[in-house]
Amino acid sequence: MTQEATLQEYEFDAVVIGAGGAGMRAALQLTEAGHKVAMISKVFPTRSHTVAAQGGINAALGNVTEDKWQWHMYDTIKGSDYLGDQDAIEFMCREANQIVRELEHFGVPFSRLENGKIYQRAFGGQSQNYGEKQAKRTCAAADRTGHAILHSLYQQNLRAGTEMFVEHFALDLIIDDDETVCGVLIQNLHDSALKAVWAKHVLLATGGAGQIFRTNSNASINTGDGLGMVQRAGIPLQDMEFWQFHPTGVAGKGMLISEATRGEGGILRNADGEAFMVRYAPKVKELASRDVVARAIAVEVEEGRGCGPQKDHVLLDLTHLPHDVIENRLPGIRDISRTFLGIDPIEAPIPIFPTCHYMMGGIPTNLNGQVVKPDIPYPENRSGQSVDTQIPVPGLYAIGECACVSVHGANRLGGNSLLDIIVFGRKAAQEIGKQLQNNPEIATRPFQHNLNALLQRYQRWLQTSPSESAHDSVFAIAADMQKIMESGCGVFRDHQHMQQTVEQLRQLEQRFAQVQIQDDSAVFNFERCSALELENLLAVAKATACSALAREESRGAHTRVDFSERDDENWLKHSLFYPQNESILFKPVNRQPTQHAPFEPQKRVY
């Protein structure tokens, strides 16, 4: 029996791929509007990685310090090292207050102030009055804000009755001969059954891909599946050179210690016990933006002032904080520190080192969450050129970490990712709702489409090789990729190492083309799932290394040892990576907000 014959088919108005905060907010909106919607997730929804977000979500509620969305907008643009699109940032910051109150109404158990309003804490890069005093803008549910939001959104989706395909893996986008995205090919992990889900609107909310690096704060499911799917569909990836290394990962392990620790007063110390941040950010010290703090820590270690026998980390000191601050505001951090290090932060400082945390780049979209690409047929002939006109890819949307709208530019501020996913989750769903209203008939299977080609592509994973003849494995290739990316595209980068990384990745692609799996089970075949994920990770890694090699300047999280300055004249532009011939095009940064004067690039000092 062929795969085609056993294919199950479904039809929906809209299909949401991913059940993190972005996907669940979008699915909720669409279901409540009465549309026929399916949410697809490779894990049970509350296992999605939004659950691990700790510190909070930014909104200029002004509950603790006076605040305005305009100040939030300024901070976000400055934090992005002026690469963020100002229209998108303005939109996000203006929506923030209502978005947070809406979450509160959904049941999120935010921590509270004496007057009963939502508690807000200080986070890095936040200011009042365009850079003057520290603001307290991050709305928090202790240090479990992501968990609180994700569970509340799941609960609301239960109430609304959202249809879910749980533990189903999305393989590829189905595209018709008009280049309209018309569905997605998915696989039930329980029994390997393939399903074609036809839909007029396909929304990608597949999250990040931090698994391209060895030391990361991401879940093992963060494998860039949406990014791999769009690359295979001929759509470029934007700004892939920009990866955030979170300053405070557990040393040697990578799990996250929230920025809330510094927001509540934590201090970073080197081997001499010196609070060194004053030398890097004299004004705001520990509360500089993440790229600045991560570089400072890496320099301290590089210059021999690291702690421990290997001198390979610094210390995050919370011992001077009142005990009740740690117990009530940072209980999750205390748990992580005790569990993974055997250290109670009330008694001793936490060993930390930067860890790969967040992908600023992703699938290019406009403000409505529609995926966009340059209006040209053959990108490889135009390599290196700037393209102004961007056209929507019909039927396709992307939101959250997998998307690049771009609100984070070259460096994301803490507390802005939870905001991003909810703001654009709702916005994209509203856009899809509008289009469904204008054009209400259900999608039908188009006459011409690429489904057969997609099924062909999948066939290779039905062949298995017995273990004794296997000389390579998907696990070995994945481990090598993580090491290669860490050594070539980490906090500090230069031409020579990145060139080497690109070449090593090409070799890995060749190994991947040959590798076979051993497990032939149809029930929860993790090896096959890992192989499909690895294909996506390799696409993301390649896009990252090539984009980073091309950008000859230092901006935000992209730090070139050989080009140490920001170069606005040549590089104030977004990159677009096409895997065909590894070509890169560029597009201009939006500097036309509608409610506020534009912000001109300035030297970034904290």
């Binding site: 509350t46 296992r47 109404h105 935010f110 494995s473």
Partner: protein
């Protein structure tokens, strides 16, 4: 070191069996977690089935029974488990494959307690104001909202073993109580009445396996005690 894992592949096995793996002691450090060990074994044997995701104890994917106790593999240290570790799937659930169980009944019980805030209609639609809650009212939710739905509690509960289709189990009752005690929820009486049945809140006998098993240090047994008090008080 000996690792015994209960295996079952529905395509080839008529019943679960125990497979023994051997690992060099040197590969296990003082800080090695059980999940890392399982990942090593999967590299040796790619057919080994277990769920995992966040690897830091917040997603709740990797509940399993280890030497008789339910736990999350990612936050369970290997060393204190001794030289012989026996890993089984979470008890009472149908086994899908190896350590992967079918948790549908558990999720259904959660859904049945309507675990979502039902606030005042007017206040809930006001985008300009949050529904106020004092720090003291909010503090009551501590110990309830942190549940990660890993099912370590319910799958260690004898009452749930007997009636997983009727008895909500500790996780669902913890969630039910979380909304009963939320000052913003206006359906407290409805919630209490729906749980006032022999097979609902009162099927709990406070054996406290749930509290012993919870990897997040929560106390479902105490929450259910509170729930019962509120139900009885509501009757009069």
């Amino acid at each position: 070191m000996q690792i015994l894992i209960d295996r079952y592949n529905p395509q080839s096995d008529s019943a679960p069996y125990t497979q023994t793996y051997h690992l060099n002691d040197a590969e296990v450090g003082e800080d090695t977690m059980l999940l890392e060990l399982l990942q090593q074994l999967r590299i040796q044997d790619p057919t080994l089935g277990f769920r995992s995701s966040c690897q830091e104890g917040v997603c709740g994917s990797d509940g399993m029974n280890v030497n008789g106790n339910n736990c999350l593999s990612c936050i369970t240290l290997v060393k204190p488990l001794g030289d012989k570790i026996h890993i089984r799937p979470l008890p009472s659930f149908p086994i899908i494959k190896d350590l992967i169980v079918d948790m549908q009944l558990f999720y259904d019980q959660y859904k049945n307690v309507e675990p979502f805030l039902k606030g005042d209609e007017h206040l809930s639609r006001d985008p300009e104001h949050e529904i106020l809650q004092t720090p003291e009212e909010r503090e009551k939710l501590d110990g309830s909202y942190e549940c990660i739905l890993c099912a370590c509690c319910s799958s260690s509960c004898p009452s749930f073993w007997w009636n997983p289709d009727l008895f909500p189990g500790p996780a669902a009752l913890l969630a039910a109580n979380r909304f009963v005690i939320d000052s913003r929820d206006i359906t407290t009486i409805d919630r209490l009445e729906s749980l006032d049945k022999a097979e609902k809140a009162f099927r709990c006998r406070h054996i406290q396996n749930c509290t012993a098993a919870c990897p997040k240090g929560l106390n479902p047994s105490r929450a259910i005690q509170g729930l019962k008090h509120a139900i009885v008080k509501n009757r009069s």
